[in-house]
Structure formats: structure tokens, C-alpha cells
């Protein structure tokens, strides 16, 4: 076989396998596993000898192929009333799936593409600025842009003050938001009522942490008229 094919022309182990199947003109539903495994492993050896970085996925598929090969050598005990399962079936399904998406990708690329085959009007200098009032609609916006912007800023910061951002902080913000909204609506809340509504334990903990955080930030005040009496929460904001 020709080794002129470079590793980087394959998009992954499945792509390499499809290439071998096409090259050998093999029926995908009846893959001669021994032959294909041998050729696949040979490719990996060549890649290794060329000191090409092999993605771990290539080795995973190699072991899958070897495993299928060994299964096919063993006479499988067929249970009564059950069809014999072809050890290759799962791999074949995966290959067919992947092949379908490869074709879909090629079809996409074949479409007239903006900024490649066609262009929109370039000159918008003529336009008058729109007024900024009562605009309600937004362009489609992606949260990726947000995390990207945030990530950029974090990257700019000194290592000593890297921001910690995790799910805890966010869950906390959610609960604070909820409590603030209820306070705005109802004026004051009883601590018990706030905690009672929380059926799940995680939420209960975050609600409690949120109250502590809000007290720390002086966003709310907490009153208790007598020992063991009802605890009331009110907004600390004036006006």
C-alpha cells in the first residue's frame, strides 16, 4: 500500500477507516476485519515512525478493531430465540453515520457561500443614524460572546487576582435575583417562608448562602422581634 498519504489529511480514525474501506473497495456491511485491522495498524506504525503525533482516538479505534477481530474468531454462543449479533454492527453504524455527515459537510461547502462566492452591499456610509429610543428588539446574541469577553478580560488580569468563576457563584446570583424580585414585589419576606419553598436540598443551601451574601453586601436587613420569633427580611435600599 502507498504511504504517501499524510496523517493530517484524515479528520480522525473513522476517516482513516473509511479511506481504507474505499481503497480496498470493500462492502461496508461486510468488512473483512482481519485485513482492515492489519492495514489500519500498519498506518499507525508508519505514522509513529514518522514521529507524527497520534491522537489518542486512533489508538482507541485500533483496540476496538482488535477486539472485534478476536470476537469474530470465537464461535459465539447463540442463545435460543436470540439473533446472533455481528460484532461489527456498532462500528458499521458509526461509519455510516459519519459518512452521512461528511457528505452533508461537502454539500454545505458546495453551496454559494457568503464572502466567498457572493457578497452583500459593502457601502453603508450613506445611512443616517437611527434614534436610540424605544428600541426593544435585539439581534440574535450568543452567550459565547459573553464568556469570550469575560475570558479575555480574565486573561489580561494578573495571576494574583484571577477571578474565580464557578457554578456556585452563578447559582448564588440566581437565588439573590429571585429574592430581590420577591422583596420588590412583596416588601418583606419571612425567613421561614423563603426557606420552606425550597424543596430541593441544593436550592435550600444556595438560598441560605444567598441570604448571608446579601446581608454581607447590606442589600437586605434581617429583623427578629423576640428570641425564637419569626425572622423578617426587608430591602436595605432606601427610596
Amino acid at each position: 500500500m502507498g504511504y504517501e498519504v499524510k496523517l493530517d489529511i484524515f479528520e480522525g480514525p473513522l476517516d482513516l477507516l473509511l479511506y481504507l474501506i474505499r481503497k480496498n473497495k470493500i462492502d461496508i456491511y461486510d468488512i473483512p476485519i482481519s485485513l482492515i485491522t492489519e492495514q489500519y495498524l500498519q498506518y499507525l506504525r508508519v505514522m509513529k515512525s514518522l514521529s507524527l503525533d497520534l491522537a489518542g482516538e486512533y489508538l482507541v479505534l485500533a483496540s476496538t478493531l482488535v477486539h472485534i477481530k478476536s470476537q469474530m474468531l470465537l464461535p459465539s454462543p447463540v442463545l435460543e430465540g436470540e439473533d446472533e449479533v455481528d460484532p461489527r454492527a456498532e462500528l458499521v453504524r458509526q461509519l455510516i453515520d459519519y459518512q452521512a455527515f461528511k457528505e452533508a459537510a461537502a454539500a454545505l461547502e458546495g453551496r454559494p457561500m457568503l464572502e466567498r462566492d457572493l457578497f452583500t452591499r459593502g457601502d453603508h456610509t450613506e445611512e443616517m443614524p437611527g434614534s436610540e429610543d424605544d428600541q426593544e428588539r435585539f439581534e440574535e446574541m450568543s452567550v459565547f460572546a459573553l464568556i469570550e469577553a469575560f475570558g479575555r478580560m480574565v486573561a489580561r488580569m494578573d495571576a494574583s487576582e484571577k477571578l474565580q468563576i464557578d457554578m456556585e457563584k452563578i447559582s448564588l446570583a440566581d437565588r439573590i435575583d429571585e429574592i430581590m424580585e420577591r422583596l420588590a414585589r412583596e416588601g418583606s419576606l419571612s425567613f421561614d417562608a423563603l426557606m420552606e419553598r425550597q424543596c430541593d436540598r441544593r436550592r435550600l443551601i444556595y438560598t441560605f448562602l444567598a441570604i448571608l451574601e446579601m446581608v454581607r453586601l447590606r442589600m437586605i436587613r434581617i429583623y427578629q422581634r423576640k428570641p425564637f420569633g419569626a425572622i423578617r427580611i426587608v430591602l436595605a435600599v432606601e427610596g
Binding site: 479528520e11 474505499r22 473497495k25 470493500i26 461496508i28 491522537a55 455527515f101 454545505l108 457561500m113 450568543s142
Partner: protein, 173 residues
Amino acid sequence: MEHIKAIIEALVFASESPLSIDRIAETLEGIDRKEIVAVLSTLAEEHEARGGGFLLKEVAQGFQFRTRPSLGSWIRRLKRSKPLTLTPAALETLAIVAYRQPVVKAEIDRIRGVDAGGPLKGLLEKKLVRIQGRKDVPGRPIIYGTTKKFLEVFTLKDLSELPTLKEFKDLQG
């Protein structure tokens, strides 16, 4: 009627992104949506027949003037720009997101047999793919989908215009 046609043409022309029938209707209060649709299709036909440098196309649930696809190389020469290119990995990842959306990264990795992190990030940066939310399963993985820009770039009216995925393809030959 002639006047309405000129107004609608000017509106589509002046808009920086594909202009929806809704926004045209909103701007021309009192004009029936059916009439707007009729005018737009007449305009599209007229521009096609004119044989000029640009055409009126329906894309991403709106209308937009775009240069004739066969003239792309001339405009690239003018702009001295490299054509928008997507690597095979990015295209495969994009195809999976387009057809399987909403989809999690693990599913894309599984179908392609390799980690899709790099291509996925590139697609997010190019705004062809967006984060749609999180899946309600343990670990709450992020789910991905395509954007309006995806429709614009590939000249699609909407997702239903994507050709059906081939179920079976003979690999021989």
C-alpha cells in the same frame, strides 16, 4: 403600487442584514403582508431578468441583495480578501450541529471519532454556531445549535431548506 415597489426595494437595499417581511410590514403600516410578498417576488424576478451584478435573494427568513455567485472571484480581487474558508473538521462539525441540533459536544465527538473542541470554538467565534443552553441531564452539558448567520452564509431560507441527510451511501468505488 409602483411607488410601494420602489419603497420596498429601497428598504431592503438600505438594510444591513436580511430584512424580514415583518419589519417591512411594520415600517409600511397598513400594507398587507400578502402584497409585500408579491412585490418582493416581482422584484426578485426583475433583478434576475435584468442580468445585472446583484440579485434579490430570500435568506435567513428575510430578503437581501447579494452579488451574483458567478462574480465572486472579481469581488475578491477588488477586496483583496481571502475567501471565507472552513477546514474539513469545521465543516464536519458544522454539519453535525446543523442536522442534530440541539446537540451536546459529546455527541459530536462520538460521531466524528475525535475531539471537536477546536473546530467548535472556531465555529462559535465565527458566529456560525451558538450556545443554546444546557441539557437537563447530570453534568448539565452545554447544547449547541446554528445561528442566523449560518443561514446567511450558506444562503438558506431556514433550516428546513437543508437537504435531507442521506441514510445510506454505498461506499464502494
